[in-house]
Structures are given as C-alpha cells and as structure tokens.
Symmetry: C2
C-alpha cells in the first residue's frame, strides 16, 4: 500500500496531549466563569449560508472567508461568532427571553496569509448580552467583573482592564466641531503608544487637517490619566457642553461606581481615554485587557457596547454588550513566552494503576474504586518489563503510580508511588484516594507570573 | 437597509438555550467519564488536506465529503474522527506514549441527502486506545465499563452493551469452509432481527449459495443465547477446530471475566453472536449498545478492536480499540422521543438576583457572594415593572429569584423565592446559597426512563 505522508495544514493548531490539557483547562475556566454569570452556552453551525455570513460584506472578510458550493448551496465557514449570534437572535427572537445572555466557545475560520502565530482556524470565546430595544447600563458595568474572574481563573494577577466610552470620545470631538473627522482622528490617536504624542500631533495636523490648537486639545484630553477618581474628575471639567459627552460620562461613572461591589480591585481596572475599538460598531462602553508584563501581546480580551446587533436580519433594534477572547492566539502567545505552567493535570491521569499479579481483577477493582473517589485513573495492562512500565508512567507525566501485587492484596492495601518525590506509601484504597486527591488540590495555576 | 431573511441550513442542528444546556450536560458526562479512565482530550482541525482525508477513498465518503479549494490547497472537512486520529498518531508518533488513549468530542461533516433526523454537521464522541505494535486484551475488557459509566451518567439503567468477537465469527465460517463468503453471510445474518431466521436461511441459500445444511449450522450458531456463562459454554463446544476461533473465544472470555471487577452488572451486558460491525476494519472484540425500551433507535454506542489504525500514513503497525457515540443523532432521537428531562440546570442560572433599590451595589455584592458559593447567578438590572421581571424569570426557567430591597438590606438578609413551589424565605446570603445549592443537588437525571 502506498503511504501518504501525514501532515497538518499550516495555520491550523494541533496540540500534543499535555498542551491540549492546558488548553482544556483554559476552556474550563471560561465555561465555568461565563456560566457563573448566568450566560447560556450556545452552539451554532460552523457552516452557514454564505449570503447570510456576508450580509455586511466587503473588505478583508470577503477575501478571507472559506466559501464553497455543495449541491445548489452557496456555503461558507463562519469567520466570527458575532454574525452567527445576530442570525440566531433574529431567527429565534420569539423563543428567547431578553436580555438574552449567551456564551460561545467555538472555532472560526479566516484564510489569512500564513504567518507565525496567525491561525486560519481558531477559537473565539465570546459572551454577549442582548436587549430587546433597550439594555440597562448595569450590564456594561458587569463586564469588567467577568473579565477579572476569567483572568484570575487563569491564575493571573498582573493584568489591567481598560475601559472607555465611545460617547465621551464622540461628544468631545463634537465640542471641537470635529465630528466628521472623528474616525480619522481616532485612528491617529490609536498610534499614541507606538509613536508618541509628538508624532501624533504632527499627524493630526498633516493628515487630518486639524489646527495646531485642536491637536493640542486632543492630546491634552487623551493625556488625562491617574486613578479612576482623578480621570472622572478631569472629565467633569468638560461636562455641560455636549449632551452625548455628558451621557457617556454618566455611563462611565455607572461602570466604575460598583467595581468594589463586583469584587474588581482598583489596580486591575483603569479608565483609559485612548481606547477606541474601531469605528462603526461600538457605541458606548469599550473594553480592552492588557497583560501588564507583556504589553507587546496587545489586548487579550476586548469588546464593548453596540446599539444594533442584527440590523442585517431584522428591523428590531437589538442593542447589546459583549467581549471576545481570541483563545487560540492567546494560548499560542502564552506558550511561546513560556508562561503556561506544567502541572499534574496536564497528564491524562492522576494515577496509573499497574497490576502486579496474573489475575488483573484486584487491580481493576482498585482502579474503579479510585475513579469512584473522583480521580482520573488509567489501568496499565501491557505485558512489559517493570522498568518499561515506569518509563511509560514518566512519559505520560502521571503524578502517581499505584502498584498492586500479592503482598499488597494480602494486606488489603496498595503501594502508592509519588512520581515527583519518589516516595512510596503502603495505603488502603481509601487512603490512596485521599492522599492523591490532597496532592492534586495543591495544583499550580495555569499561567505563570514571574 | 435591505433585510436578509435569517435562516439556518437544513441538516444543521441549532438548539434553543434550554436544549443546548441539556446537550452540554451530555457532553460534560462524556468528558468526565472519558477523563476518569485516563483518556487525554484531543482536538484536531476540522479542515484537513483532502488527499489525507481521502487516503482510503471510494464509496459514500467521496460523495459526501465537503471539499473545496482555497488558494492552491485542496481542502476538505473531516467526515469522522478516526481518520484525523490516524493522521495525528502517524504524524506525532515520536512524541506520544503508547498505549495512547485519547478522547475527542468534535463536529464532523457529511453532505448527506437532507432527511429528518439526518445531520450534515454532527458531533461524534470517540475514545480510542492505540498500541505500538501490540495492545493487551485488558483494554478491550475495559471498554464495556466505560460505556456503562457513560450511560449511567446520562441517568439510564435500561440499556445493554452487546459484545462479540470477529475472530469467533471468522473462525466459525472457516470451520464451515466458508471463509470467502464470510462477508456476504454476515450481511445476511445482520438482517436477523429485521426479517427473522426463516427468511435469513432462504437468503443464505439463494444469495450466498450455501447448502441448506450450512445455512442451518449458521442459524444454530447465531441462535446461541442465554447468560454470558451459557453462551461461553455453548461456544466451548465449537473449540479445538480452528485456531482463530479458539483465540477469539479466549479473548471473549477475558472480556467477560472481569465485568464484576469493572462494576458492570450482568444485566447491562450480553455476549451476542449476531453483532458483526461491518467488515474490513474490526478484527477482534466488537461492541454495540442498545436502549432496551427503544430498540428502533439502533445501537447508540459502537466500536471494536482493529489491527491497523494508520496503514495509509505509516508502515508501523498500530492496533487499537475504540468506540464512538453519534452524539447529535442520539440527542435528536432522545429529544424526539420526549426522553430528555427538563431540570433546573437547563436554565442559564440557578438564581436571578433582582435589585429592589435605586443603588444596585448591595444586589451586586449579594450576587457575587452567591457566585463565590458556586452558584450560577444572573443579575437583573433592567428598568421594568416587578411583574415583568417575574415573567422574565419564568421564561428563563430559573429555579430561584432573590430579591433585595431596603427591608432585606436593613436585616442583612435577602428574600429567596422558590419558583417551583412559590414559597419565599428570608435568609442571609450564606443561608440562601446553601438553600439553593441543596435544592439543586436533588436535580433529576438527564434522560427519563418511564
């Protein structure tokens, strides 16, 4: 038979078991955290009618989309989870209760040029809260709490959730009579961190046609920093001149007012007037999340408030707020930077049970008993030399090996070998389960901070 | 703006939130059970090189596959999880420890003709144990225990795992000098349940060219039933005539010998000589699983032992054993038959916290405290009339509503309303968490048996 050389397509992540276990732990943190805030899990097809996915059309999306025919159908793979959500909510409107809160962790597809760290198939982990006609500001205030819980769940403390409000920006530019240039201005201001204030000022004059004075006003505005209270106080100085600005400021105050009640420490949150998040879609609060020790990674969790989720599919006004985590890219970057910690749970089992008698029945029963106590247990039945069995246990990375020979059976005990310390204990099945469980409970966080 | 009518493609399952929650519970049972037996989670791309997926080629697969070009690449969506596993093991052979045990729950794609209950995108939930050159029979013996735990985890008791061994069948046909006709014969015998023994006998003569005597011998063999001990004892009567048969009988005895140690009750297991599972692929133990009260559903979990997983991609001999659950179809059928139970966990939250004061801070803090106790809690901040808030709670199906007004705040308590009984309690946050948790722990099984 002719052998075909096996390969995985470039741009498609395929992990080895220990790495996959770490990815699963991240997904589990996301599922648990999102669910704890009352978001319902949602799953939609990866394939949709191409007309529906491309309703907005144009630009990069149309170039990158995987589109193909099957029979008479013009099909495409989803390129994000927002468009399928819009379709879902419009289609099932009558059967949903609003506000509708859903989380979705799923693969999306973009045929981007192959590039290190760029993926053509990648997971997004999204939450959205969709209102029917209206949506209270409390939903926007809750989002930082969810982001905080997710990254704490990953084991991180050195991150910052950065929040702004698009109405404040739009209102401010309106005060300057620059509403029509707001888009161009925000694109320039977005480069602040990269190229510095001086160059941005020159760009604002040269490319956006602003006066020197206008450029200075803008940079004075974006330079407002300090504690949340300080930034809000500085913003008060601009109030009373533009209704949209004042509304945005009220919203921002509502979002920051309850951080303590939500359990978000001040050090993990900042009002940041340079955050804009693109142009058309977002209309209120916007969010980014930075890993403080790794600024080059960029925002690892972003989103915001929008006024019109599903305008392409329904005339109903469906405002919402949502955030998205590019999980595959985040995982790749964390791994590349060596920040993912290996732990007992990266192994496929907590214990490897090795029968040392011809009759495997006692070892089988022991393995079942350990599983009954909540452990992940692999039974090893291969006919190999003892040394090979231990080599296998080491290669798997299991934290414990449990041996059961005639001696142990006679005592109604088993030998539990801690593979990390090398120590061995003679324990009853019950004691073995407790011992192993206790060692696992002290497991390390998923992501390292040095 | 022109409105595009939203739709979901036919043959693609898209569930409403309460149903999706049930599907998630099934997936969680599968993940937990598979993990408890030491299987590592695996995730492979949904898109692969078409040449690799079609290495075996021919038949229905080639017609049904979703295949498309992107740039210079000839791509296709996976149609099962076995071919990607074979590729994975061949590709990553040097980095894996054997036996390699993996579970995978993922979507696969087949462009079948649209038909009620047939899906073009569906989940498979597979486990496989892959050996390097050899694999001990103990792995085959363990599979029924895993199937048993999965279906018990779904809440079922009335199911039967049916086991046979392909070597017994091949050996038996060899005894009759019918090895070359074995495939045709098994296809006829497979109709036993549908058309009865008389018609099968006639088919064996008319279509397979057997003598009347040969047909009778075959039907006498397949008619062997009874307890496991009785069937094994009847099979002993055929031993000593064919080496392959004898080997198959030894394996079958090894698989049945340790059922008790594995915790599988005799009533959930049967040796069934009519089970054959197709032709080429399986070489040893084969498995099917029947829901006893719903025989028309057919096997809900099937698989077997094979000798050569990845022959298209490597010259290494990689034997294995595996089972697969067609999760989407199983879910669809259970739902259609009304067997899925609604439960508190079908709601997106265990409790809906409704602030009754202008300042939401106390309600926010209460919600966070309930989440800290492990509950799924939604905070409801919309400006609606009280009645509308309760209507929303009912529509969501949340089992508890927690109200926090000035009176409660003054007492450092909250009002917990049990939406099923209608009763209301004045409790501290801690008591509320315990009360709600206790009510949830008594939750119902996922699948109903009447």
């Amino acid at each position: 038979m002719e052998i075909i050389r096996p390969r995985t397509l470039s741009g498609f992540m395929e992990l080895l078991p220990a790495k996959q276990a770490q990815m699963e732990r991240m997904m589990e943190v996301l599922r648990r955290t999102y669910a704890s805030y009352g978001f319902a899990p949602l799953d939609t097809p990866a394939i949709e009618d191409a007309q529906i996915l491309l309703a907005k059309g144009g630009g990069e999306t149309e170039k990158q989309i995987y589109r193909f025919a099957k029979g008479d159908n013009d099909l495409a793979l989803r390129f994000d989870l927002t468009v399928p959500l819009a379709k879902y909510v419009a289609l099932h409107y009558n059967e949903l209760a609003f506000p509708f809160r859903r989380y979705q962790i799923g693969k999306v597809y973009r045929g981007e040029r192959a590039q290190r760290g760029r993926f053509r198939e990648f997971y997004q982990a999204d939450i959205d809260i969709i209102g029917d006609g209206q949506l209270d500001i409390l939903n926007e205030a809750e989002i930082p709490a969810i982001i905080y819980k997710v990254f704490r769940g990953f084991g991180l403390t050195r991150f910052q959730i950065r929040v702004n409000n698009r109405k404040i920006l739009s209102g401010f530019y309106a005060m300057l009579g620059l509403s029509e240039k707001a888009g161009d201005i925000m694109r320039c201001v977005d480069k602040l961190e990269k190229i510095g204030a001086g160059k941005v000022a020159r760009l604002l004059v040269a490319e956006c046609g602003l006066t020197q004075e206008q450029a200075e006003k803008i940079l004075r505005f974006t330079a407002i920093t300090g504690s949340n209270a300080q930034v809000l106080s500085a913003l008060e100085g601009y109030s009373g001149q533009n209704e949209l600005f004042d509304q945005g400021l009220e919203e921002l105050k509502a979002v920051t007012a309850n951080l303590a009640a939500f359990g978000v420490p001040e050090e993990n949150f900042a009002v940041d007037l340079t955050i804009a998040r693109g142009l058309d879609y977002y209309t209120g609060t916007v969010y980014e999340t930075a890993l403080l020790d790794h600024p080059q990674i960029g925002s690892v969790c972003s989103g915001g408030r929008y006024d019109d989720l599903a305008g392409y599919y329904t005339e109903r006004k469906l405002p919402g707020v949502g955030i998205s985590i590019g999980l595959t890219r985040l995982f790749y970057v964390l791994d590349e930077q060596g920040l993912l910690t290996e732990s007992a749970s990266s192994a496929p089992a907590d214990a490897l049970v090795i029968p040392m008698t011809a009759d495997p029945a006692p070892a089988i029963a022991l393995a079942e008993s350990l599983r009954g106590a909540g452990l992940r247990v692999q039974l090893y039945g291969e006919q190999k030399k003892f040394k090979q069995k231990m080599t296998y246990a080491n290669k798997l990375g299991v934290p414990f090996v449990v041996l059961l020979g005639e001696d142990e059976i006679g005592l109604d005990k088993c030998s539990v070998k801690d593979m990390r310390s090398g120590q061995q204990y003679l324990l009853t099945a019950r004691e073995a389960a407790d011992h192993i469980q206790a060692a696992l409970d002290g497991d390390r966080p998923l992501i390292r901070e040095d």
